[in-house]
Amino acid sequence: MKRFEPYGFLRDLASRWDVLAFIVVIGLIAFLGEASRGLFAPLSQLEVVPLSLDPARLPEYAARTTFRMLAGLGLSLVFTLTYATWAAKSERAGKLLVPILDILQSVPILGFISVTAVFFMSLAPGRVLGAEFVAIFAIFTSQAWNMAFSFYQSLRTIPTELMEAAESFRLSPWMRFWQLEVPFAMPALIWNMMMSMSGGWFFVVASEAVSVGHTTFALPGVGSYIALAIEHKNLRAIGWAIATMLIVILLYDQLLFRPLVAWVDRFRVEQEPGVRVPESWALTMMRRSRLIQAANVTFHAAVLWTSRAVKRNDAPSIDAAARPKRSLDLLWISLVAAAVVLGLWHMVAGLIADTPLQEALHVCGLALLTMLRVFGLIALASLVWVPIGVWVGMRPRAAQIVQPIAQFMAAFPANLLFPIAVYGIVAWKLNPDIYLSPLMILGTQWYILFNVIAGASAIPAEMRHVAANFRVTGWLWWRKVALPAVLPFYVTGAITASGGSWNAAIVAELASWGDTRIRARGLGSYIAEATIAGDFHQIVLGIGVMSLFVVIINRLFWRPLYYFAERRYRLT
C-alpha cells in the first residue's frame, strides 16, 4: 500500500478534471469582472443610460444580480463569524446580542430598504456604489440574522469532550476557532445559508429598483428589468425574466450549494455512518481536480500558518473568563443602560411624540388586517399542502421527485410572478383586497409542503406497519398517526411561511401594472405607500408596528406551539 503523504499534494501536473475546473474558474472570474465594472460610475449615469428590455441583455443583468447575491452572502458570513462569536464567548455581551438578533429577525426587510437606501446613498453620493450597497445590504439583512443564530447555537453546543481535548492539547483561541468551532458549526451554517437564500433572491429582486420620495434608482439587474417590464406592461419581457431567474437559481444551486452541502458532510460530528451521503457532480469534479485540491490544502495550510503567526497567549487561563469581574460588569450594564435610554429617547421624541393616537390606532388596525390575511392564508395553504405532503412523503419515489421541486419553488423569488397575477386582477377587475392576498404566500407556502414531506418520510416503517396491522385507516389514521407525526415538521414550515408572508405583504399588498395601481388595505400597503411618498415618519411607524406584531405573534403563538410539538410529537 502506498504511504500517505500529508503535505505532498502536487504530484501530477493536470488531469482531465483540471480542465473542467479551469473553465469553470475562469468563467467565474470573467463574470465577476463583468459584474463589478461600472460600479464607480456616477449615479447620474444610471438615469442617462436606461435599462433595456432586450432579452439579450438579460445574461448581463442576471450576472449583476448574482454578484450582489454573492457579496451579500460574503458580508453575512463576516457578520456571522464576528457577531455570533462575540455573543457566544462573552456571557455579558451575549445577554444583549442574542435578543437583538431575535428582534432583527422580525423586522420587515423590505420596509427597511427605503430607510437604509438614503443612508448608503449619502455615504457614496452620486455613485452607483451607494445604490449597490443598498441592494447588498437588503440581501445581507435577509440572511445574516439567520446564519448568526445558527452559528451561535453551534458554538454553544460543541460537545464538552471536544472542547476539553482542544484545551488540554493547548490550542490557542485562534486555532481553536478555525480547527474546532468553525468546522463544527459548518453543517448547520451551510444549511441555513441555503434556506435563507430564497429570501435573498426575493429581496435582491425587490431592492434593485427602489424609489424613495424623489430619489429613484434602478440598478442593472433582473429585478429592475422586471420593474421596467411592469412599467411598459410587457408580459413577454416578464416571461424572459422568469426564465432567466430559473436558470440562475438552478446554476447557483448546482454550482454552489450542492457542492457545499456534500462537502460539509464530513464536518458532522455524529460519527455513525450517515443515512445517505449527499452527492454533487460539481463537488466530485472539485475533489478530483488537483488544482482545486491544491487550493484546499493551501487554505488549510493558511489556517495553520495564521495559527502560528497569531501571538500565543501562554498565560494560564482557566476560569479566568468565568470569574465575574464586578467593575467590568458595572461598565457593561451602564453602557447598555445608556444605549437603551438613547433608543427610548429617539423613539419617544422622533416617533411617538409626533404620532397622533388616531394614526397609531389606524396603523394597528391595518396590522390586524394583514395578520388576518397571513393566518388565513397559512390555514388555507395548510389545508392544501399537508394532505398532499403526507401523501407524497409516504411514497419514497414520489418524494424523491417532488421534494427538490418544492425546495426549488421555495427558492424562486415569487415577486417575479406577481405581475402576471396583477395583470389578471386588472384585466378581470377583481377585488384587490381579496385577490392580492394570495401573493403573500405564493413563495412561502412551499416551506409547508417540503417540511411536511420531510416529516412524513421520517415516519418509521414500523409505525406504518403497526397502523396497517391494526387496520387503522381513514380519519383515525390521520388523527392518530399521520398528523401527530408530521406536526413538529409542519410547525417549522409554518413558522417560516408566516415570517416570509409578513415580509411579502409589503410588496404584495400594493401592486402596479403600467399606470394602474391596485392596493389591498393592510400594513404592507401602508408601508409601501409611505415609501413611495418618501414619508419617513410613516415608514418607521409602519416598520415598528409590523416588527412588534411579528415579535408578539412569535412569542405568544409560534414558539409555544413549536416547543409543544417538539416535546410531545417528535419521534426520536
Binding site: P6, Y7, E161, F169, R170, M175, Q179, L180
Partner: protein, 432 residues
Amino acid sequence: MNNAPLLQCTDVRKSFPKPDGAELLVLEGMNLELREGQIVGLLGRSGSGKSTLLRLIAGLAEPSDGQLFYLGQPIVGPAAGIAMVFQSFALFPWLTVFENVALGLEAQRMPRAEIRKRSLAAIDLIGLDGFESAYPRELSGGMRQRVGFARALVVHPNILLMDEPFSALDVLTAETLRTDFLDLWAEGRMPIKGVILVTHNIEEAVLMCDRILVFGTNPGRILSEIKVSLPQPRNRLDPSFRELVENIYVEMTARPQGSASRHERFPGSGIGTALPHVSSNLLAGLMEAVAAPPFNGKADLPEIASDLQMEIDELFPVAETLQMLRFAELEGGDLKLTEAGMAFAQSALDERKRIFLRHLLTYVPLAAHVRRVLDERASHSARKSRFIDELEDFMNEEAAEQSLRAVVSWGRYAEAFAYDNENAMFSLENPT
C-alpha cells in the same frame, strides 16, 4: 533525577455554586501521589467525582481548595506534560487520523518536519499504520480510540490521563486495546512516565493498575487505597486476582461507618435523600435473578454482575435501591434477599404490587410524603413544583428532578398515586 513526584494532590476540594448561593460539594479531602512507573486507578461509580479530579489534574478546572503539583510546580492550566485520552474519543471528525494526531504538535508550533516525524512514529507505535489518511468516521470504535491514544502520546507527555477509555468499546475490542496498551507500557515503548486511569470497572482496575483508589460518593472522597502487587501480565482467572476483585466489591458495598456517613446515600430518614432513578422492572428482575437457583436468595456481587452482564455502575444503584426498600441486604460483597424480597420474587403481579406499595410507603419518605399530601388535600391533587421546591432545600435541581422521577415511576408501579406529565400534577385518581 528530580525527586518530586510526577503528580501530587493535597487536600483538594471541589464544589460548585448552587443557584441559591449554597454550594454543592463534589470532591473532598483528595490526597494523591503519582510516582514514576506507576499506573494509578481511580475506581468508583458515576458521581464519585473521579472524573472531576482527572479534570483538575488536566488543568481543565480549578480546585476550590487545596493544591495540585506537577513535577513540583502548581498546576494552573493545561500543562505541557499532561495528556488526556477521552471516553468518547473526542476526535475531530473533519481531520484525518494524521491531522488529528498532529494537532497537539501544531498547537506547540513545532517545525513541520518534526511534526511529521513524530506523528507518524506515534501512529506506527499504536498500530494505526496505513490509516493516516482515513477520517474518524471510517474507523471502528477501537481504531478511533487508538487515534485518541496516538494523539495523546505524540506530545510526549510525562503523565497520561485516561478517562474511562475503554468503556465506550465492546468487550472484545476493549480487551485487545488494554492488552496492547499494557504490552507497550511493560516494554517501555511509550514516552510516558505515569498513568492515571479513571474507571468504574473493577476487573479493569485490577488488571491494569499498581494502585487503586476506591472512591465513595456524596461527596466524592477516597474510601481506601489498594495496592496491586500481582505480576504483569495478570490473569483474570488467577485465584488471587479473583480474591482481589472480591475484596474491592466488599469495600465498595461496605456500610459506611459512623452516623454522619450513614445519612449520606440512603439514610432511610427524611425526604432530603437523593433517589436514583431505577425502574421497577430492574428491581423485580434483580430480585428474581437472586431468588432463582443457583443463588437461591443470596448472590455474590461479582458473580451476579458477570451473570447479568452488568457493570457496577448499573448494578450498584439497583442493589442499593433494593436495600433501601428493605428487599435485600448488602454486606460483604453479597446481595441477600430479605423475607419480603423473597416473597416478592415468588408472587404474581397483584401481590407484588401490594408488597411493593407497603415497602415504598414505609421506607421511602418522599413517596410517603407525596401520598400524605395527596390524602390530606380535598382535591387529592398537587403540583409537581410544590415537591421540587421542598426537595431543593436539600439538593440541587437536577437531583431533585431525578428523585421525583424515581418516586413517580415507583408510585405508578405500586399504584400509590398517579402523575400527569402534561400538567405536572400528582393525583390519587387513575387517568380516565
